[in-house]
């Protein structure tokens, strides 16, 4: 009798241990901080319950630091980083750059190649020409002006040397801006670090446009992500579940300029030098990394529905939800992706 009681005690001990060992907290915690011109939000289930503010901060600190450090190196808003020096040096040789900047340039070049130039962090001169940074401009640029600006655009004009970790912008007045990919790279880094810290469940986002999931919520199939209507921020037009994946959405309504009664979106076709005219109003990409989903969500605007479908045939892991507008009606396209049950 005593022996069986002993066995029951041992058995109970292991049950408790195994529950504890899985260890995930039942209460989520939200961590918010400013970076890259937006708010980063980590909603995580800590490794165990009962953690207090400072314990959570210590847990997340390496990931927050990684995001902040990346921003320091790749932000084009800072006057004294390697990117500022690189942009200033356009047309006058190569520069050794720090590893963060080098990495984002390499990723950019890779997606520029894969998307046939649709993703391009060098479109700055076009934004200038069309007046995105100069709202007082009234005219549409002439063909000649556009072709002059296009001479300063294109990742083929960016040379990189892997051995020396050096980069050169070969045309004067070229410049790089990683607003379309930087937040994704930051989130991927944060995710990797948080996983190293023992976090198995969480969702991270940067200003809602770039999202990465760590695993799934406890006992759930995935994190439910709504897709906002491009015309009404309070309306959700679709929902997807993501499981350890990334999701990025680009929307045409974010920024636009108006010239002679016509609205032009802020996403440019680097080939034509004009704002994209593909009728796509919202582009959502679900894939493995946020660096990729960020780069592709913008690219598919430029590529249009058919070329996006071609791309997704080649890369079947990439799931895409495109919304286009025809005669004031929204048309939804699901590529490698199932429509949610309505």
């Amino acid at each position: 009798m005593k022996k069986s009681l002993y066995k029951i005690v041992i058995y109970l001990f292991f049950i408790i241990l195994s529950i504890g060992g899985h260890g995930e907290a039942t209460q989520s915690v939200t961590v918010r901080f400013f970076a890259m011109g937006t708010e980063f939000v980590f909603i995580i289930y800590p490794p165990f319950d009962g953690m207090l503010e400072e314990d959570v901060r210590n847990l997340c600190e390496p990931a927050i630091t990684a995001v902040n450090n990346l921003e320091k190196h790749i932000s084009h808003y800072l006057p004294d980083n390697d990117l500022a020096r690189l942009n200033q040096s356009a047309g006058s040789g190569v520069l050794k750059v720090n590893s963060d900047l080098f990495e984002v340039i390499r990723w950019s070049k890779r997606y520029w190649e894969r998307t046939d130039g649709a993703f391009d962090p060098s479109v700055g001169p076009l934004l200038d020409l069309w007046g995105f940074y100069r709202k007082n401009k009234q005219d549409i640029p002439s063909d000649n002006e556009i072709s002059e600006a296009l001479k300063k655009v294109g990742m083929d004009k960016v040379i990189i040397n892997v051995d020396e970790q050096s980069v050169g912008l070969t045309v004067p007045e070229m410049r790089l801006d990683f607003g379309g990919i930087g937040k994704g790279l930051a989130l991927d880094r944060a995710k990797a670090i948080l996983k190293e810290q023992g976090i198995k469940s969480g969702i991270l986002h940067a200003g809602t446009s770039s999202i990465v999931a760590i695993g799934t919520p406890p006992n759930q199939a995935g994190w439910k992500i709504g897709i906002r209507s491009p015309y009404n921020k309070d309306e959700t037009i679709e929902e997807f579940l993501i499981n350890d994946e990334s999701l990025s959405t680009s929307s045409v309504s974010e920024q636009f300029l108006e010239r002679k009664g016509k609205k032009y979106g802020h996403i440019f076709n680097p080939k034509t030098g004009r704002p994209v005219d593909t009728n796509i109003v919202s582009s959502t990409v679900i894939c493995k990394t946020a660096t990729e989903s960020d780069a592709l969500s913008t690219s598919f605007f430029v590529l249009g529905i058919d070329k996006t479908k071609e791309y997704c045939k080649k890369f079947p892991d990439v799931k895409v939800f495109l919304v286009s507008e025809h005669n004031n009606k929204l048309d939804k396209q699901y590529i490698n992706l199932k429509q949610s049950e309505e």
Binding site: S28, T30, T38, M51, E53, I64, G226, I227
Partner: protein, 489 residues
């Protein structure tokens, strides 16, 4: 960053302008008649040099409830200027910097009550029917003039620091109790709407959480001297009180009449810290030296002091905290705690200027007489979802375009805005008159004066003796009720 808390008036320019403007009435002679004095507080101004004449021009000139009936200064030129300024003040003319008197104003000033002038304040107290005395004389003289004025049944406005010795300050508190009068000390930040707003942000709104540290300084880059008219020959009346014109004019530089940077500059800020913490310091460490202005002065030209305040739940500046870390002892976390004030004053570098940095665990408030700014702490904000939260099944995030948010407030701070167009000097004298007329007690009362005197002189002692000085809490206790030193508007 400048707020509208003060009129942004350079004091030096104001004095210059006012002196030029008053030049117009020098020849005007005696006023033919007086303005009605009914309902006005009759004030005699003792000490009409830099600070005294500033009060007449700014604070008193902008206060319609006050009439200056007498002025007193041992130095004749100060006296004469004060009479002219007081006439403008009594005429209710608010003199703006850079603006002279119009002909109409000039006539009004001539017609206004002309105060009598005295070399000896005792004679003034004897001969004049005053309600109150405004004292802006050298530090070492504050005590006697204050005591005599109180004994004569007058309310007193005394420039800071209230006294040259701690015991003198205690005597003043006792004398107030005996006479039923009070002393308002020139800690004008107490009347500054910006400082009052900041205090409410800290006490009522908890904007910066618990105050954990305070950093304050007054740094300037000048010799802190007042010019002397070397050709001036002292008349017999002046010679009764002035032995050495240099020492009389530059009294701040000599130990016999001043305690230097602590009593003449730091005291404003020490008072603010004591007010915000609602506490007095327990001990002070200090060092100081005279290295740069070796011009015959005796006081230090560079000082550093550290004050330690023990804060308990009885202090209104006390703030409990929640455990942030599981390592913190939850039972001990809200035991009394210490706040350190780091204070420096130097005279050959003005980079950091004059301000106070009130640092809390949730943010910082930076204050100066020119404006205030709130800086939230930049650390990540952490909040808990509910256990087994709805987010497990609900939509967690709705994705769309990037929400652009500015962290400008983190980097550049948020200005603390107050709606005020009057100068702080005017505000303190308006309250002075109001408290006299309505039987109120001033915010910067004699207990405030005592606290600031104790703080400044203990710091002085720590510097002079190069040691840590314990401050006896019994210095603030009396066997009669005393006014609250932490009053708010």
């Amino acid at each position: 960053m400048k707020s509208n808390t003060s009129r942004n008036v350079s004091r030096r320019n104001f004095i210059k302008t006012a002196s030029t403007a008053t030049g117009l009435i020098i020849m005007a002679g005696k006023a033919p008649f007086s303005y009605a004095l009914n309902d006005k507080v009759k004030v005699g101004c003792v000490g009409c040099g830099g600070q005294g004449s500033f009060h007449i021009k700014d604070g008193l000139m902008g206060t319609s409830d006050i009439v200056i009936t007498a002025v007193c200064d041992a130095y004749g030129p100060h006296q004469r200027l004060a009479v002219q300024l007081a006439q403008i003040s009594n005429a209710g003319i608010a003199l703006e910097p850079g603006q002279g008197l119009t002909e109409e104003q000039r006539q009004k000033a001539i017609a206004a009550f002309k105060p009598k002038s005295y070399y000896d304040y005792r004679e003034m107290l004897e001969k004049e029917e005053l309600d109150a005395v405004v004292i802006a004389t050298p530090l070492h003289t504050h005590y006697q003039i204050t005591m005599d004025s109180l004994s004569a049944g007058k309310y007193v406005f005394c420039e800071k620091t209230m006294c040259y010795e701690i015991e003198q300050a205690r005597d003043v508190v006792k004398k107030c109790h005996e006479t039923g009068k009070w002393v308002q000390v020139g800690h004008q930040r107490r009347y500054n709407p910006l400082y009052n707003k900041a205090l409410m942000m800290i006490w009522e709104e908890g904007t910066i959480g618990r105050i954990v540290h305070i950093d304050a300084q007054w740094h300037r880059n000048n010799d802190w001297r007042r010019p002397i008219n070397k050709d001036h020959k002292l008349n017999s009346q002046e010679a009764r009180f002035i032995k050495d014109l240099e020492r009389y004019m530059n009294w701040r530089l000599y130990k016999e009449s001043s305690r230097g940077l602590l009593t003449e500059l730091a005291t404003h800020q020490l008072d603010i810290v004591s007010w915000f913490l609602d506490a007095v310091p327990k001990r002070v460490y200090g060092c100081g030296s005279l290295d740069y202005w070796r011009d015959g002065r005796e006081i230090h030209d560079s000082i550093n002091v550290i004050y330690e305040f023990d804060i308990t739940p009885e202090n209104r500046g006390y703030r409990a905290i929640n455990a942030r870390s599981s390592y913190q002892d939850k039972m001990a976390i809200n035991q009394p705690y210490t706040v350190q004030l780091m204070y420096s004053s130097i005279t050959a570098n003005a980079k950091k200027g004059c301000n106070e940095l009130i640092q809390g665990d949730e943010g910082t408030i930076e204050l100066s007489e020119e404006g205030g700014t709130f800086y939230p702490e930049a650390t990540a904000k952490i909040s808990w979802g509910e256990s087994g939260s709805a987010e497990q099944t609900a939509t967690v995030i709705t994705s769309g375009g990037t929400l652009k948010l500015s962290n400008k407030a983190l980097q550049e701070g948020k200005p603390i805005v107050v709606d005020n167009t009057r100068s702080v000097d005017q505000l303190q004298f308006m309250r002075f008159a109001k408290d006299i007329k309505e039987g109120g007690v001033p915010k910067a009362n004699q207990m405030v004066g005592l606290r600031a005197t104790v703080m400044a002189l203990s710091g002085y002692q720590a510097i002079e003796e190069r040691r840590m000085v314990e401050i006896d809490p019994a210095l603030y206790t009396f066997d009669f009720p005393t006014p609250d030193p932490s009053m708010v508007s």
